[in-house]
């Protein structure tokens, strides 16, 4: 015997300290956390730096990123990129990339789905 059961989960998710970062994505800019001790800049932001310090401050990046590597196929187009000013790399969704581009710029994302999406840009 089999039954089909459908449930709908309407989450009302709070993001605490990360709200600022997610709001930035919906407004089209990249907010990163800069460690007050070692000055490492993490994007996506890491609450505690790899140096162990939890003291940090928000900084706004230019939003331009250099492509490190990309993957494409039936699951969509994604890349590992280095945002200008960031010490870490970032996994991003690629919008309108053909595979030959070197740089991208962050796009404004939906307020209901704040995501890191970049679109090609010619100049750094």
């Amino acid at each position: 015997m089999k039954i089909s059961k459908k449930i709908e989960l309407n989450y009302n998710i709070s993001f605490g300290k990360m709200s600022k970062w997610l709001t930035g994505l919906t407004e089209g800019f990249a907010l990163a956390l800069k460690c007050s001790l070692c000055e490492k800049v993490s994007f996506p932001p890491q609450k505690i730096c790899t140096c162990g310090s939890y003291k940090n401050s928000w900084i706004k990046l230019s939003g331009v990123a250099e492509i490190v590597t990309i993957t494409s196929g039936l699951d969509g187009n994604y890349g590992l990129v280095k945002f200008e000013g960031a010490s870490t790399l970032t996994v991003v969704k690629l919008n309108n990339f053909k595979g030959t581009e070197t740089f991208g710029k962050i796009l404004k994302s939906s307020s209901q789905n704040p995501s890191i999406i970049i679109t090609p840009t010619e100049v750094k």
Binding site: T69, G73, V91
Partner: protein, 384 residues
């Protein structure tokens, strides 16, 4: 000492027979119990592993499973660590025995990853098994994240798409002789190169399937008289790396696995090059190479692979069962099943055409969750 006195895997596949994960759990437990010659009342601890209540439609599954198994007034623990859940459950069992809190531990891993939910829904849920704030919001799939990682590994090591195809062929060839395997397929390179690209360089045939199934172990603090060849678990280790790929020191390498192996081999008092065969976590064809390198099983993994050393008749057989790519991957059962496979092989009780004739002294079971984010390994020793 910790002895594996009972072990079993159900079939791993997509169930179409109307059976439930609760049936598979009963099937595997009864088989392990029979192998151990224990009675139900002897079990003092039940450890279960499954990845997600989304899959089972059952919160707190360990209690209903205990009822189904007729286990009462026992200690019950549920372990969850994504893809590593099963191996972490094995570790919990080992710790329970070594701490002298338990004498006979039943470990059961299971997941209905294939038949309960549509695969698109499972894919969406898996996006949230990375960081739901970042990768989850982006909708990036497990395949895409593994693809980004293997691309950097390929650039660094010279691993190429022909190697990915050959690893796929090898594992599925082994699965042909494993009656419990999900994908018993004989591939050729052309078929693999023609299969659709999911996330470059990964094609559909490079991916392990979502499977239904269960696996179990019974651990004991002493060797029963009728099971003098029962193997030991002599080393366990686990470690993590950053969830966000971009935040890692080395994105192409499975650093967590290296750390886990260091801990396990230190506990076992052996070196990685003493391992005689290994079941490693090949969620994707390339992940097998990343694992072999990180585990230190070879000083030149690419040459050893191309020379056939990891094949069934090689000097260090890898994924004799077919691995996740061939045997399948019911997530919570995977690590338990890998350890059970090692135990059976070390006791000379594995499937006829896959059993190694000259049984080595040591075997390794390697599991991870995420893209090598949380790794867990166990080292077993033969008593033959």
């Amino acid at each position: 000492m910790v002895y594996v006195i009972g072990c079993h895997l159900t079939e791993f596949n997509r169930r179409k027979d109307g059976s439930s994960y609760r049936d598979w759990v009963c099937e595997t437990f009864e088989a392990s119990l029979a192998m151990s010659s224990l009675e139900r009342k002897d079990i003092d601890t039940l450890i279960i592993s499954n990845e997600s209540d989304f899959f089972t439609f059952q919160l707190n599954p360990s209690t209903v499973i205990a009822d189904d198994l007729g286990l009462h007034k026992v200690e019950i623990v549920r372990v969850e660590g994504g893809g590593a859940s099963g191996q972490l459950a094995v570790h919990q069992g080992v710790k329970s025995i070594l701490s002298k809190k338990s004498q006979y531990v039943a470990i059961i891993g299971f997941d209905p990853s294939a038949s309960y939910l549509p695969s698109e829904t499972v894919k969406q849920l898996y996006s949230n098994s990375f960081d739901s704030l970042t990768d989850g919001m982006n909708g990036v799939t497990a395949t895409a994240l593994y693809a980004l990682s293997i691309q950097l590994f390929m650039k660094k090591t010279g691993l190429n798409e022909t190697d990915l195809a050959n690893a796929t062929i090898n594992n599925r060839n082994n699965a042909l002789h494993n009656p419990s395997a999900h994908l018993k397929l004989k591939h050729n390179q052309q078929e693999i190169f023609a299969s659709p690209v999911i996330s470059s360089p990964y094609r559909r045939l490079h991916c392990s399937p979502l499977s239904d199934g269960a696996a179990s172990l019974i651990l004991s603090n002493k060797k029963p008289l009728n099971r003098i060849s029962a193997p030991n678990i002599i080393g366990i280790g686990s470690a993590n790396d950053m969830v966000n790929l971009g935040a890692r020191d080395d994105i192409g390498e499975f650093v967590s696995k290296k750390e886990a192996m260091k801990k396990a081999s230190s506990m076992a008092g052996i070196r990685a090059n003493e391992i005689g065969f290994a079941e490693v976590y090949d969620a994707y064809a390339g992940a097998q190479f990343q694992a072999i390198k990180a585990l230190g099983l070879s000083s030149d993994f690419l040459k050893d692979f191309r020379d056939g050393h990891f094949s069934l008749d090689g000097k260090l057989p890898i994924n004799i069962s077919g691995g996740l790519m061939g045997q399948g991957a019911p997530v919570g059962a995977t690590g338990v099943g890998q350890t059970a496979t090692c135990a059976m092989l070390l006791e000379g009780k594995y499937h006829k055409n896959l059993q190694i004739k000259n049984i080595p002294k040591f075997a390794l079971a390697d599991t991870h969750g995420g893209v090598g984010t949380l790794s867990a390994v166990s080292i077993l020793k033969s008593n033959i």
